[in-house]
Symmetry: C2
Subunit: 221 residues, 2 copies
DNA sequence: CTAATAGTGTCTATCAGACACTATTAG
DNA sequence: CTAATAGTGTCTGATAGACACTATTAG
């Protein structure tokens, strides 16, 4: 069926923008920092967020996966839409709207190639082209909301972890220190002890936990 | 500056989708119900959310304003982006992405024309074409989040109101009854007594309030 | 007066913040 | 032993839910 409006024009007669996706891939580094993946571009040269133009018939989520699989060797992502950036002059190459996305990846599943890709710590990202700094702001705010309620909902830690490791992750995400005892009591309902202990450190060995199956909120019941 | 990719193609050589906006305009009716504005279309005939295609150089927010000013006589909106609906087959007229929006309007600022526009109560919207039912779900969820913390943040009530009227509005938004005394105590920090009373009803006259200037959250300080 | 609604006092359970205490390890 | 970290007990203040009480009106 061909659509025609009041003036008899079909859908193809209307000017259309180019549609892009740009993704903030967030990870948690071994030195306890929240970091974002940047890629090197040539055209306006410099570091920026990985992105691509939407292909015909393709889903936004698929475009995100396609743009990241090559550049960062990441698969099985669950990208989340954040916001559409639509300022008319945001891209000097033409009329381009970008749908900003967030994806989280455990550090050991990242395979960055070094020349074309690098990690930047969240509080030390430089000035990026387009509105990519604003996209990172959006992404971090979204991640903070997710981490407020339950223990490591994105699975950035390995299978088993101590509560200290969990708290350091949550502090990196929140960008602020968290109460030691309150944090423990808030997270315990969502955790299951593995029975193992973490030895070799000074002090009493810490119990190892994994996330509870039901991905519980921090409540009593 | 003309952009060319590795194959020498410019931005215009890439296929592009049509970009639309669809808006859930929510209001609060005199009979204490949350309702959404629907418009009558001819092309696939039936009721649907008001929307339009994005014009060149136009902002999404501007397109929302343009599509609503005519059809519902509403101006000075502050539309909020909700989500991009991008399923390849969502529109049988072609490849159309829609950016769903939420706008709230006090009932007495609505000027619906009757033949082409009507209100539907939220829990009695019928089955709408495309993904317009999902858009309404998104919009109501967003409104609920906003109304959880502060008194009538969208200004759906008139200047002065009683706490009973405020609670009835919040119950319509939440879709569930709220505790009478708890609600009052939670909202009072964000309210200012006007000094007036609401008379003429049976029972003790209720004090009239307006929203506090600072749009305070429900806390003590 | 009665019926109805507005507004408040208060008890209980829960929870965050704060702090100190006990428990268990390395060295 | 000492130093350091893990884990817990407990007090305080704030708050939600529940319930009952007082206050003030219409009729």
């Amino acid at each position: 069926m061909v659509f025609r409006d009041a003036s008899g024009r079909t859908l193809e007669d209307y000017p259309r923008p180019s549609m892009a996706v740009d993704t903030a891939v967030l990870t948690y580094t071994p030195d306890a920092a929240l970091a974002v993946v940047l890629v090197q571009a040539t055209d306006p040269a410099g570091w920026r967020l990985p992105g691509t133009f939407l292909h015909p018939g393709e889903t936004l989520a698929d475009a995100v996966q396609r743009s990241l699989a090559a550049k960062a060797g990441i698969t099985d992502l669950v990208p989340a839409q954040l916001h559409v950036f639509d300022a008319p002059g945001r891209d000097d190459r033409g009329w381009v709207l970008s749908v900003a996305h967030l994806a989280t990846v455990p550090f050991d599943r990242l395979h960055l190639d070094g020349q074309l890709t690098r990690l930047a710590t969240i509080d030390a990202v430089g000035s990026l082209p387009y509105d990519h700094n604003a996209i990172i702001e959006f992404a971090v705010a979204e991640l903070r909301a997710r981490y407020a309620a339950s223990p490591d909902p994105e699975g950035l830690l390995p299978e088993a972890f101590t509560i200290l490791e969990l708290r350091q992750l949550h502090e990196a995400v929140a960008g602020a220190p968290l109460q030691r005892d309150t944090f423990r009591r808030a997270m315990l309902p969502g955790l299951v002890a593995t029975g193992g202990l973490q030895r070799g450190q000074l002090g009493k060995p810490a119990e190892l936990y994994r996330r509870a199956a039901g991905r519980r909120e921090a409540t009593t019941d």
